[in-house]
Subunit: 208 residues, 2 copies
């Protein structure tokens, strides 16, 4: 089975890389669809799942950290429940077929299936131009504001990961490959990345 | 120009990767040879250069850190001089032809030439088996001792790097690619890595 997980810094083009990689390998890519799938399966409103899924996980546990154990509140429980449903869905998808999973700590959640774990990063200049290129017409943020937003989202992602592992988000040893997309068209990286992954799996089969 | 720098954790197979990559690309790989070249050019004893080159750079600056500025001692000066000569040599080599440079903070020293920067890492199991495979017959270290040695050497490398940059050794954003060699034969990673680098440079030429 080829299960490829993508962790990525905000603005690094990681989502596009996941999508293009999946297309090139001829396998599905799951990203936001996981939210829709969970909503459908659990008969929940899509926006509710998306909201629960995207809210800052640091809200789940401030009280336990600051003042020892406390009763979980309702908002915490909702977030944790949606997270659990998403993880269940990811595991189901990863058992059904080869796939690329973007975000949601897929590398940790699917650890049993020994995924090929990719981390995508980029320098600030590249993040800025990527964020500007995909910004809405009416979105007028300064460079400083964009970079603050990038850092804030990355912090959230790091916190989410921290719920499941001690290993630091973005620490090279936790991934098969870390890819720096600075100044690169994502499309241009795909063919060689594909061969890298194909060879990696050929070798893995020889070993087993 | 294709200048490829390899930074690596001790026991990750980074040196082998550099050598094999250079062979596959048909360009020279400079590693320990830099020591011999400096010795020859400066008419110094090879062992002296090797000794100065490998001693812990943390010896260069403990006094300045612990007690404010102090007169550099002779041992510090010798180390710094050899380091400067090595860097001069690396710059000369990188101007002469495409090449792979292993270690010695090549990524920082040669920054002006925009090298393709690789970081090689591995998990502890892989480091252990790699270190055991290359150990001398009479070298009988326990697993714990080997891992302590790995960490000690890595610390030295991180300190060396810290002389020139604030960017953390092994931080993914500081490299084009971080490669995890855990459980892999280095040779098996080379063909795809080659294509990755070739494509990266093709794209870079298009941009310029």
């Amino acid at each position: 089975m080829k299960i490829i997980t993508i962790s990525r810094e905000f603005g690094s083009g990681g989502r596009e890389l996941g999508k293009r990689l999946a297309d090139a390998l001829g396998i599905p890519c799951y990203d936001q669809q996981i939210i829709e799938m969970v909503a459908e399966k659990e008969k929940l409103d899509k926006n509710y799942v998306a909201y629960q899924s995207e809210k800052d996980v640091r809200n789940f546990y401030p009280a336990t950290i600051a003042r020892g154990f406390t009763r979980p509140n309702y908002a915490m429980l909702q977030g944790v429940q949606v997270m659990a449903k998403e993880q269940e869905m990811m595991k189901k998808l990863a058992l059904e077929s080869d796939c690329v999973i973007v975000g949601r700590a897929g590398d940790i959640v699917l650890a049993d299936q020994k995924p090929f774990r990719i981390f995508v990063c980029a320098d600030e200049t590249s993040k800025l131009s990527r964020c500007r290129a995909r910004a809405e017409e009416n979105e007028k943020l300064s460079d400083k504001e964009i970079l603050r937003k990038c850092r804030e989202i990355d912090k959230r992602r790091a916190s989410y990961r921290k719920l499941f592992t001690e290993r630091r988000w973005g620490d090279a040893a936790g991934y098969e490959l870390c890819i720096n997309t600075s100044g690169k068209e994502i499309a241009s990286l795909i063919p060689a990345l594909c061969s890298y992954i194909e060879q990696w799996y050929t070798e893995a089969q020889k070993d087993s």
